[in-house]
Symmetry: C2
Subunit: 389 residues, 2 copies
Amino acid sequence: MSEIKEFESVDSALKQLPKEDYDRVKKILYGSETHDIEVSEESRELASKYNIELVTCGFNCRDEQLRSPKVVRIGLFQHKLVPFPTSTPIQEMKYALFKFANKAIRIAARGGVNIFCFPETWNMPYAFCTREKTPWCEYAENAQFGPTTKMLQELAVIHNMVIISPILERDEIHSDSIWNTAVVIDNHGDYLGKQRKNHIPRSGDINEAIYCTEGNSGHPVFETEFGKIGISFSCHHPLNSLIFGVNGAEIVFNPSAAGGSGTEPLWSIEPRSAAIANGYFTCAVNRVGTEVFENDFTTGDGKSPHRESDYYFGSSYVTAPNGTRSPGLSRTKNGILIAEMDLNLCRQVKDQWGFQMSQRLDLYADLLNRATRSDFAPQIVRKSCKQQL
Amino acid sequence: MSEIKEFESVDSALKQLPKEDYDRVKKILYGSETHDIEVSEESRELASKYNIELVTCGFNCRDEQLRSPKVVRIGLFQHKLVPFPTSTPIQEMKYALFKFANKAIRIAARGGVNIFCFPETWNMPYAFCTREKTPWCEYAENAQFGPTTKMLQELAVIHNMVIISPILERDEIHSDSIWNTAVVIDNHGDYLGKQRKNHIPRSGDINEAIYCTEGNSGHPVFETEFGKIGISFSCHHPLNSLIFGVNGAEIVFNPSAAGGSGTEPLWSIEPRSAAIANGYFTCAVNRVGTEVFENDFTTGDGKSPHRESDYYFGSSYVTAPNGTRSPGLSRTKNGILIAEMDLNLCRQVKDQWGFQMSQRLDLYADLLNRATRSDFAPQIVRKSCKQQL
């Protein structure tokens, strides 16, 4: 299946349908109504000046008698590396991306954003497709004290904003090891902690296992002034999503570098499924465009060596715990999605649907324990030695 | 949100898009190409005679060097109760539905189907919305020896077909208890076993918890001549889906009675998510239409008493382990979906994506154990007592 690059988005294509059909298709595919939210003129002007698409969305939630609304605005930033070639010297590349990030965060701040999230390894090429260690490992930084965290701490204070910054982490204290990590900076500019990616993909051009191993930081939920947030890099793994719910997350961010036509059909399913099953908001944020490298590499699919990455299809979006989703950013452009939600919706949906009530965690704790034993016997019913259930 | 009844399907609405956009939207929303499969003229003629929509789909799979293809055809039957009013005497209602089932199974048999599946509680009104015990509890039958199983055992032999029959079960041996159960009959007409619904919903008109409790039959995988199959009634629960994968299922059937505009957006997400995460095919099969009862009932949403059920939106469909889905049956009509798949695709996708390799079941067994303890302390990072990760 060849990649589609120039196609703007499913959202925009659907708008060609007759109005009545569009409304029905949208209701079935996207869920309940959302509402428009206001963002400042300044925010829109900056976005237009910097040529960054700005999409906004508000999720509906009812008022409660005893709890005040907990309204929060999140900002998802999707961006290309272009116009910087991947061979740009590291310092220069980072500085250029810092400048761009600065612009994006200003747009978000003027749009009232409280929590801002970048895509996976946002401050470097997603170079794992090359399997080259040099120079890419040099991009890795200390999570707490590295230059990216430092730069963002300043912006976090200026804009009173929580910032989630997914980078390649260097842990000098533990054998100079490398991790795929998201740093969380609070709105006072303090380093709050980090999430190391819990499940490392190893397929096609997604060769992260060549650089790092499964994360050992657990499934922390960061209690910020704007809500309880988690970072799940691993939407392919429902167990990973589950534990953030168990730990009380209200918003789970999914920073991604998702590309290729085989992956794209999963993009609109997995984060939504996680939101529905676990009663929290998910924020899927992706990079955009193709990245071209200096040297040939292969994809492990028997095809010719090449220098182009998969096409990262953007399409960042937000899902509410009732499964309703926002429009997506485009497949082709730099963009910021600003979504406003009342976090009270999480508990409202859990009360209404009761999935947690009937979840039977104790049963599954036992089943998973058994499944990992070397003498595990799966529950199989064969005619010859049939179990009478 | 009001219900949409007359709308045929998202699939058919999308066909109004310009060809190029339709192809792209379909690729992104539905996944890789599928192919046409042949079914006999007789099958099509019978379908047309009985006014049952017939939709077919073949999933692609590559040939392997050491394993022969394991090609199987499944048939999903979605049907309305209409023209029988819900007040029809029980014997009469069952007999009428038996006759209809007989027709459907003949169509499927002529279409080469090996495994046939009905929707949830297929042989009765989905009367749990009423919360009335009488007469609905009288519909419950012994799983192994009841009249529905008996009738289907004969058809299974005649047509050399595995049949999955979801019914309300009466267990006379255990206090006359009632269960929401699927009976599995093999292609020789033998009762192979049963799956009791593991997670019982209790929300809106889905009052199953008024009639029965969470199933105690585990997550059996039935090793039939045509493949290893499981029955998951509970797509809202990723843990339930997970264990069928752990137990080795190749096809998981999701018999449903899914209705209402709040639920419909979940329909195209949850079964697909289960297929992707667990490396098996899922077959989501739903009832169709509205069922009208004799007495008023309320939905627990403060709205007026009424006699109409939710609108069950049909839309039965199949998903392959790579996330590719079949077209759906309509939202409005009786229908049979015949899908052909090579079960070798399950392992091929697991090998390619490696989700199972990086699943970390041992970690989650431990985490779930902790989460169910009364002294459970979720992993929360607060500024005051911040954990250094």
